[in-house]
Protein backbone atom coordinates (compact mmCIF):
# COMPACT_ATOMS: atom_id res chain seq x y z
CA UNK A 1 0.00 0.00 0.00
CA UNK A 2 2.68 2.56 -0.93
CA UNK A 3 1.95 5.79 -2.72
CA UNK A 4 4.43 6.10 -5.58
CA UNK A 5 3.24 9.49 -6.95
CA UNK A 6 1.67 12.35 -4.99
CA UNK A 7 -2.05 12.51 -5.74
CA UNK A 8 -4.35 15.50 -5.24
CA UNK A 9 -7.08 13.40 -3.72
CA UNK A 10 -9.48 16.30 -3.30
CA UNK A 11 -9.40 17.01 -7.04
CA UNK A 12 -10.32 13.48 -8.06
CA UNK A 13 -13.85 12.26 -8.74
CA UNK A 14 -15.27 9.41 -6.69
CA UNK A 15 -14.76 7.06 -9.63
CA UNK A 16 -11.08 7.96 -9.88
CA UNK A 17 -10.53 7.50 -6.14
CA UNK A 18 -12.32 4.15 -6.34
CA UNK A 19 -9.94 3.06 -9.13
CA UNK A 20 -6.98 3.79 -6.82
CA UNK A 21 -8.72 1.99 -3.96
CA UNK A 22 -9.26 -1.05 -6.16
CA UNK A 23 -5.46 -1.24 -6.51
CA UNK A 24 -5.23 -1.42 -2.72
CA UNK A 25 -3.99 2.13 -2.01
CA UNK A 26 -4.63 3.01 1.61
CA UNK A 27 -4.68 6.74 0.84
CA UNK A 28 -7.62 6.14 -1.53
CA UNK A 29 -9.47 4.22 1.19
CA UNK A 30 -8.89 7.10 3.58
CA UNK A 31 -10.12 9.62 1.01
CA UNK A 32 -13.38 7.70 0.51
CA UNK A 33 -13.79 7.47 4.29
CA UNK A 34 -13.12 11.22 4.60
CA UNK A 35 -15.73 12.03 1.93
CA UNK A 36 -18.51 9.80 3.19
CA UNK A 37 -17.91 9.35 6.91
CA UNK A 38 -20.17 12.22 8.04
CA UNK A 39 -23.18 11.68 5.75
CA UNK A 40 -23.10 7.90 6.16
CA UNK A 41 -22.68 8.07 9.94
CA UNK A 42 -25.39 10.76 10.22
CA UNK A 43 -27.85 8.74 8.15
CA UNK A 44 -27.30 5.64 10.28
CA UNK A 45 -27.31 7.62 13.53
CA UNK A 46 -30.64 9.26 12.67
CA UNK A 47 -32.04 5.88 11.73
CA UNK A 48 -30.96 3.85 14.77
CA UNK A 49 -30.76 6.72 17.35
CA UNK A 50 -27.85 5.12 19.17
CA UNK A 51 -24.35 6.54 18.76
CA UNK A 52 -22.41 3.42 19.61
CA UNK A 53 -24.55 1.24 17.41
CA UNK A 54 -24.39 3.80 14.60
CA UNK A 55 -20.58 3.77 14.76
CA UNK A 56 -20.53 -0.01 14.53
CA UNK A 57 -22.93 -0.03 11.60
CA UNK A 58 -21.08 2.76 9.79
CA UNK A 59 -17.79 0.91 10.31
CA UNK A 60 -19.40 -2.28 9.01
CA UNK A 61 -20.71 -0.36 5.97
CA UNK A 62 -17.30 1.06 5.07
CA UNK A 63 -15.54 -2.27 5.57
CA UNK A 64 -18.10 -4.02 3.39
CA UNK A 65 -17.80 -1.39 0.66
CA UNK A 66 -14.01 -1.21 0.68
CA UNK A 67 -13.60 -4.99 0.75
CA UNK A 68 -15.91 -5.27 -2.25
CA UNK A 69 -14.47 -2.27 -4.10
CA UNK A 70 -13.53 -4.50 -7.06
CA UNK A 71 -17.20 -5.24 -7.66
CA UNK A 72 -18.17 -1.54 -7.84
CA UNK A 73 -19.72 -0.70 -11.22
CA UNK A 74 -18.66 2.80 -12.32
CA UNK A 75 -21.87 3.42 -14.27
CA UNK A 76 -23.56 3.93 -10.88
CA UNK A 77 -22.75 6.71 -8.43
CA UNK A 78 -20.46 5.62 -5.62
CA UNK A 79 -22.60 7.62 -3.20
CA UNK A 80 -25.69 5.62 -4.20
CA UNK A 81 -23.84 2.39 -3.53
CA UNK A 82 -22.51 3.31 -0.10
CA UNK A 83 -25.79 4.89 1.04
CA UNK A 84 -27.68 1.82 -0.11
CA UNK A 85 -25.47 -0.43 2.00
CA UNK A 86 -25.65 1.97 4.96
CA UNK A 87 -29.44 2.20 4.76
CA UNK A 88 -29.81 -1.57 4.49
CA UNK A 89 -27.58 -2.03 7.54
CA UNK A 90 -29.70 0.45 9.52
CA UNK A 91 -33.04 -1.03 8.41
CA UNK A 92 -31.83 -4.57 9.20
CA UNK A 93 -30.77 -3.40 12.63
CA UNK A 94 -34.12 -1.72 13.26
CA UNK A 95 -35.93 -4.86 12.23
CA UNK A 96 -33.73 -7.03 14.42
CA UNK A 97 -33.89 -4.95 17.54
CA UNK A 98 -37.17 -3.09 17.06
CA UNK A 99 -35.38 0.16 17.78
CA UNK A 100 -37.61 2.32 15.64
CA UNK A 101 -38.89 4.28 18.58
CA UNK A 102 -37.27 7.53 19.57
CA UNK A 103 -34.38 7.62 22.01
CA UNK A 104 -33.26 11.21 21.56
CA UNK A 105 -32.39 11.33 25.25
CA UNK A 106 -29.88 8.52 24.98
CA UNK A 107 -29.62 4.93 23.91
CA UNK A 108 -32.23 2.56 25.36
CA UNK A 109 -29.27 0.29 26.12
CA UNK A 110 -27.44 2.89 28.18
CA UNK A 111 -27.16 1.68 31.76
CA UNK A 112 -25.80 4.72 33.63
CA UNK A 113 -25.87 8.55 33.35
CA UNK A 114 -22.49 8.67 31.57
CA UNK A 115 -23.69 6.21 28.94
CA UNK A 116 -26.93 8.18 28.51
CA UNK A 117 -24.96 11.40 28.03
CA UNK A 118 -22.60 9.72 25.56
CA UNK A 119 -25.43 8.34 23.44
CA UNK A 120 -27.64 11.45 23.41
CA UNK A 121 -28.16 13.06 19.99
CA UNK A 122 -26.13 16.26 19.99
CA UNK A 123 -28.19 19.08 18.50
CA UNK A 124 -26.85 22.50 17.49
CA UNK A 125 -23.59 23.97 16.28
CA UNK A 126 -21.13 24.60 19.15
CA UNK A 127 -20.02 27.90 17.56
CA UNK A 128 -23.47 29.55 17.67
CA UNK A 129 -24.34 32.26 20.20
CA UNK A 130 -26.12 31.12 23.33
CA UNK A 131 -29.54 32.42 22.20
CA UNK A 132 -29.14 30.98 18.71
CA UNK A 133 -28.01 27.75 20.25
CA UNK A 134 -31.10 27.55 22.43
CA UNK A 135 -33.43 28.29 19.48
CA UNK A 136 -31.54 26.01 17.14
CA UNK A 137 -31.36 23.28 19.73
CA UNK A 138 -35.08 23.59 20.40
CA UNK A 139 -36.09 23.44 16.73
CA UNK A 140 -33.44 20.87 15.87
CA UNK A 141 -34.43 18.79 18.83
CA UNK A 142 -38.11 18.98 17.87
CA UNK A 143 -37.48 17.96 14.30
CA UNK A 144 -35.06 15.19 15.31
CA UNK A 145 -37.74 13.95 17.70
CA UNK A 146 -40.31 14.09 14.92
CA UNK A 147 -38.01 12.25 12.47
CA UNK A 148 -37.57 9.56 15.09
CA UNK A 149 -41.31 8.97 15.14
CA UNK A 150 -41.55 8.29 11.41
CA UNK A 151 -41.65 4.80 9.93
CA UNK A 152 -38.09 3.67 9.03
CA UNK A 153 -38.81 3.77 5.27
CA UNK A 154 -40.16 7.32 5.51
CA UNK A 155 -37.22 8.25 7.72
CA UNK A 156 -34.55 7.18 5.24
CA UNK A 157 -36.39 8.86 2.36
CA UNK A 158 -36.82 12.19 4.17
CA UNK A 159 -33.22 12.20 5.45
CA UNK A 160 -31.79 11.49 1.99
CA UNK A 161 -34.06 14.04 0.30
CA UNK A 162 -34.14 17.00 2.65
CA UNK A 163 -31.04 16.64 4.84
CA UNK A 164 -28.63 15.18 2.26
CA UNK A 165 -30.35 16.88 -0.69
CA UNK A 166 -30.34 13.80 -2.93
CA UNK A 167 -32.58 13.81 -6.02
CA UNK A 168 -35.63 11.53 -6.08
CA UNK A 169 -34.14 9.31 -8.81
CA UNK A 170 -31.00 8.64 -6.78
CA UNK A 171 -33.03 7.83 -3.67
CA UNK A 172 -35.14 5.39 -5.69
CA UNK A 173 -31.93 3.71 -6.92
CA UNK A 174 -30.42 3.61 -3.42
CA UNK A 175 -33.47 2.16 -1.75
CA UNK A 176 -34.53 -0.13 -4.61
CA UNK A 177 -37.94 1.50 -4.71
CA UNK A 178 -40.01 2.77 -7.64
CA UNK A 179 -39.74 6.54 -8.14
CA UNK A 180 -43.48 7.00 -7.43
CA UNK A 181 -43.14 5.18 -4.09
CA UNK A 182 -40.23 7.40 -3.08
CA UNK A 183 -42.26 10.53 -3.89
CA UNK A 184 -45.22 9.18 -1.93
CA UNK A 185 -43.06 8.30 1.09
CA UNK A 186 -41.45 11.75 1.11
CA UNK A 187 -44.80 13.48 0.74
CA UNK A 188 -46.32 11.43 3.57
CA UNK A 189 -43.24 11.95 5.73
CA UNK A 190 -43.50 15.72 5.28
CA UNK A 191 -47.21 15.60 6.14
CA UNK A 192 -46.42 13.66 9.31
CA UNK A 193 -43.59 16.00 10.25
CA UNK A 194 -45.87 18.99 9.72
CA UNK A 195 -48.46 17.47 12.04
CA UNK A 196 -45.90 16.33 14.63
CA UNK A 197 -44.18 19.71 14.72
CA UNK A 198 -47.57 21.44 14.97
CA UNK A 199 -48.45 19.26 17.97
CA UNK A 200 -45.12 19.96 19.63
CA UNK A 201 -45.50 23.70 19.37
CA UNK A 202 -49.02 23.76 20.75
Amino acid sequence: MTNPTPVEWGALSDQEVVRHAARGREAAYRELIRRYQRPVFSLIYRMVRDRELAEDLAQETFIKVLNAIDSYRPEYKFSSWIFKIANNAAIDQLRRRALNTLSLDGSPHAENPDAIEATTLQIGDPQESQLDEVTSRELGSQIETAIGKLRPEYRSCIILRHIDGRPYEEIAEMLDLPLGTVKTYIHRARNELRILLGDMRE
Binding site: R38, H187, R190
Partner: protein
Protein backbone atom coordinates in the same frame (compact mmCIF):
# COMPACT_ATOMS: atom_id res chain seq x y z
CA UNK B 1 -62.87 27.72 -3.86
CA UNK B 2 -62.14 28.15 -7.57
CA UNK B 3 -59.83 25.21 -8.35
CA UNK B 4 -58.90 21.88 -6.78
CA UNK B 5 -56.29 21.87 -3.99
CA UNK B 6 -52.59 21.54 -4.84
CA UNK B 7 -51.35 18.05 -5.67
CA UNK B 8 -48.31 16.41 -4.09
CA UNK B 9 -46.32 17.04 -7.28
CA UNK B 10 -47.28 20.71 -7.26
CA UNK B 11 -46.22 20.99 -3.62
CA UNK B 12 -42.87 19.38 -4.51
CA UNK B 13 -42.51 21.78 -7.40
CA UNK B 14 -43.11 24.73 -5.08
CA UNK B 15 -40.32 23.55 -2.80
CA UNK B 16 -38.01 23.47 -5.83
CA UNK B 17 -39.20 26.95 -6.90
CA UNK B 18 -41.15 25.57 -9.88
CA UNK B 19 -44.33 27.64 -9.75
CA UNK B 20 -46.96 27.25 -12.45
CA UNK B 21 -49.67 29.88 -13.15
CA UNK B 22 -52.33 27.49 -11.79
CA UNK B 23 -50.45 27.16 -8.50
CA UNK B 24 -50.01 30.92 -8.20
CA UNK B 25 -53.67 31.64 -8.86
CA UNK B 26 -54.81 28.84 -6.55
CA UNK B 27 -52.60 29.99 -3.70
CA UNK B 28 -54.01 33.52 -4.07
CA UNK B 29 -57.49 32.24 -3.29
CA UNK B 30 -57.00 29.15 -1.05
CA UNK B 31 -55.88 29.95 2.48
CA UNK B 32 -55.75 26.23 3.37
CA UNK B 33 -53.18 25.41 0.66
CA UNK B 34 -51.23 28.62 1.32
CA UNK B 35 -50.93 27.69 4.98
CA UNK B 36 -49.90 24.14 4.12
CA UNK B 37 -47.24 25.39 1.70
CA UNK B 38 -45.87 27.72 4.35
CA UNK B 39 -45.69 24.95 6.96
CA UNK B 40 -44.11 22.59 4.40
CA UNK B 41 -41.44 25.19 3.67
CA UNK B 42 -40.69 25.57 7.37
CA UNK B 43 -40.32 21.80 7.76
CA UNK B 44 -38.00 21.56 4.77
CA UNK B 45 -35.90 24.51 5.99
CA UNK B 46 -35.63 22.97 9.44
CA UNK B 47 -34.57 19.64 7.92
CA UNK B 48 -31.97 21.30 5.68
CA UNK B 49 -30.51 23.11 8.70
CA UNK B 50 -29.91 19.90 10.65
CA UNK B 51 -26.21 19.19 11.18
CA UNK B 52 -24.18 16.18 10.12
CA UNK B 53 -22.76 14.15 12.96
CA UNK B 54 -19.15 13.07 13.29
CA UNK B 55 -18.08 9.58 14.17
CA UNK B 56 -15.30 9.07 16.72
CA UNK B 57 -11.88 10.46 15.66
CA UNK B 58 -10.38 6.98 15.27
CA UNK B 59 -13.21 5.85 12.98
CA UNK B 60 -11.04 5.86 9.83
CA UNK B 61 -8.29 3.83 11.52
CA UNK B 62 -10.79 1.27 12.72
CA UNK B 63 -12.19 0.90 9.21
CA UNK B 64 -8.70 0.52 7.72
CA UNK B 65 -7.86 -2.14 10.30
CA UNK B 66 -11.03 -4.01 9.37
CA UNK B 67 -10.27 -4.20 5.65
CA UNK B 68 -9.06 -7.57 4.45
CA UNK B 69 -5.63 -7.25 2.78
CA UNK B 70 -5.75 -8.01 -0.94
CA UNK B 71 -4.57 -11.59 -1.60
CA UNK B 72 -3.77 -13.70 -4.63
CA UNK B 73 -6.66 -15.98 -5.60
CA UNK B 74 -6.62 -19.18 -3.55
CA UNK B 75 -5.40 -22.30 -5.35
CA UNK B 76 -8.18 -24.57 -6.58
CA UNK B 77 -8.49 -27.46 -4.18
CA UNK B 78 -9.45 -30.70 -5.84
CA UNK B 79 -12.18 -32.35 -3.85
CA UNK B 80 -11.27 -35.67 -2.30
CA UNK B 81 -13.43 -38.41 -3.79
CA UNK B 82 -15.81 -40.28 -1.56
CA UNK B 83 -15.46 -44.12 -1.22
CA UNK B 84 -18.64 -44.57 -3.25
CA UNK B 85 -17.23 -42.45 -6.10
CA UNK B 86 -13.97 -44.42 -6.00
CA UNK B 87 -15.88 -47.72 -6.21
CA UNK B 88 -18.01 -46.45 -9.12
CA UNK B 89 -14.88 -45.31 -10.92
CA UNK B 90 -13.29 -48.75 -10.45
CA UNK B 91 -16.43 -50.46 -11.78
CA UNK B 92 -16.47 -48.18 -14.83
CA UNK B 93 -12.79 -48.88 -15.52
CA UNK B 94 -13.40 -52.64 -15.14
CA UNK B 95 -16.30 -52.48 -17.61
CA UNK B 96 -14.18 -50.51 -20.09
CA UNK B 97 -11.30 -53.01 -19.78
CA UNK B 98 -13.72 -55.91 -20.33
CA UNK B 99 -15.36 -54.27 -23.35
CA UNK B 100 -12.01 -53.23 -24.81
CA UNK B 101 -10.54 -56.67 -24.19
CA UNK B 102 -13.54 -58.32 -25.86
CA UNK B 103 -13.23 -56.07 -28.89
CA UNK B 104 -9.49 -56.66 -29.15
CA UNK B 105 -10.02 -60.43 -28.88
CA UNK B 106 -12.68 -60.26 -31.60
CA UNK B 107 -10.36 -58.32 -33.93
CA UNK B 108 -7.53 -60.73 -33.22
CA UNK B 109 -9.75 -63.73 -33.98
CA UNK B 110 -11.08 -62.05 -37.18
CA UNK B 111 -7.50 -61.31 -38.30
CA UNK B 112 -6.44 -64.90 -37.82
CA UNK B 113 -9.66 -66.40 -39.28
CA UNK B 114 -10.63 -63.99 -42.12
CA UNK B 115 -12.78 -66.52 -43.99
CA UNK B 116 -14.85 -67.44 -40.96
CA UNK B 117 -15.18 -63.77 -39.95
CA UNK B 118 -16.50 -62.73 -43.36
CA UNK B 119 -18.93 -65.64 -43.45
CA UNK B 120 -20.39 -64.59 -40.07
CA UNK B 121 -20.24 -60.84 -40.36
CA UNK B 122 -20.71 -60.17 -44.08
CA UNK B 123 -24.54 -60.11 -44.31
CA UNK B 124 -24.88 -58.24 -41.01
CA UNK B 125 -22.33 -55.60 -42.03
CA UNK B 126 -24.01 -55.23 -45.41
CA UNK B 127 -27.45 -54.69 -43.79
CA UNK B 128 -26.26 -52.29 -41.12
CA UNK B 129 -24.12 -50.32 -43.61
CA UNK B 130 -27.16 -49.93 -45.86
CA UNK B 131 -29.30 -48.74 -42.93
CA UNK B 132 -26.68 -46.20 -41.86
CA UNK B 133 -26.35 -44.86 -45.41
CA UNK B 134 -30.14 -44.52 -45.76
CA UNK B 135 -30.41 -42.67 -42.41
CA UNK B 136 -27.60 -40.32 -43.41
CA UNK B 137 -29.31 -39.55 -46.72
CA UNK B 138 -32.62 -38.80 -45.03
CA UNK B 139 -30.94 -36.55 -42.43
CA UNK B 140 -29.15 -34.57 -45.17
CA UNK B 141 -32.33 -34.31 -47.28
CA UNK B 142 -34.27 -33.11 -44.26
CA UNK B 143 -31.62 -30.53 -43.35
CA UNK B 144 -31.41 -29.07 -46.87
CA UNK B 145 -35.16 -28.46 -46.83
CA UNK B 146 -34.99 -26.38 -43.64
CA UNK B 147 -35.34 -22.57 -43.96
CA UNK B 148 -32.10 -21.98 -41.98
CA UNK B 149 -30.02 -24.21 -44.27
CA UNK B 150 -29.03 -21.51 -46.86
CA UNK B 151 -27.78 -19.15 -44.14
CA UNK B 152 -25.75 -21.92 -42.48
CA UNK B 153 -24.33 -22.96 -45.87
CA UNK B 154 -23.38 -19.31 -46.61
CA UNK B 155 -21.83 -18.91 -43.18
CA UNK B 156 -19.57 -21.91 -43.80
CA UNK B 157 -18.87 -21.02 -47.44
CA UNK B 158 -15.17 -20.19 -47.02
CA UNK B 159 -12.54 -22.35 -45.30
CA UNK B 160 -11.79 -19.58 -42.81
CA UNK B 161 -15.42 -19.32 -41.76
CA UNK B 162 -15.74 -23.07 -41.54
CA UNK B 163 -12.60 -23.20 -39.41
CA UNK B 164 -13.92 -20.46 -37.12
CA UNK B 165 -17.26 -22.27 -36.75
CA UNK B 166 -15.46 -25.51 -36.02
CA UNK B 167 -13.27 -23.77 -33.42
CA UNK B 168 -16.36 -22.19 -31.83
CA UNK B 169 -18.24 -25.46 -31.62
CA UNK B 170 -15.17 -27.24 -30.25
CA UNK B 171 -14.76 -24.48 -27.66
CA UNK B 172 -18.40 -24.75 -26.56
CA UNK B 173 -18.07 -28.52 -26.36
CA UNK B 174 -14.89 -28.29 -24.28
CA UNK B 175 -16.49 -25.67 -22.03
CA UNK B 176 -19.58 -27.83 -21.47
CA UNK B 177 -17.40 -30.86 -20.84
CA UNK B 178 -15.28 -28.98 -18.29
CA UNK B 179 -18.41 -27.70 -16.56
CA UNK B 180 -19.85 -31.19 -16.46
CA UNK B 181 -16.61 -32.57 -15.09
CA UNK B 182 -16.55 -29.92 -12.39
CA UNK B 183 -20.14 -30.79 -11.47
CA UNK B 184 -19.27 -34.45 -11.27
CA UNK B 185 -16.27 -33.77 -9.02
CA UNK B 186 -18.10 -31.48 -6.56
CA UNK B 187 -17.64 -32.88 -3.06
CA UNK B 188 -20.50 -35.22 -2.26
CA UNK B 189 -22.42 -34.75 0.98
CA UNK B 190 -22.22 -37.74 3.23
CA UNK B 191 -25.58 -37.04 4.85
CA UNK B 192 -27.64 -40.20 5.02
CA UNK B 193 -24.86 -42.49 3.75
Amino acid sequence: MNSPHLTADELDGLLDQQISPRVTSHLATCAECASMVERDRRVVQALAALPYYDAAPDFGDRVIRGITPRQAPAAVVVAERSPRAVAARRRAIGALVLAGGGLAAGFAWAATHPGEALRWSGPALQDSGHAVWQSLQSVVANATEQPWFPSVRDALATPVRALLAFAGITGCYAFALTGLRRLMTEPATDAGW
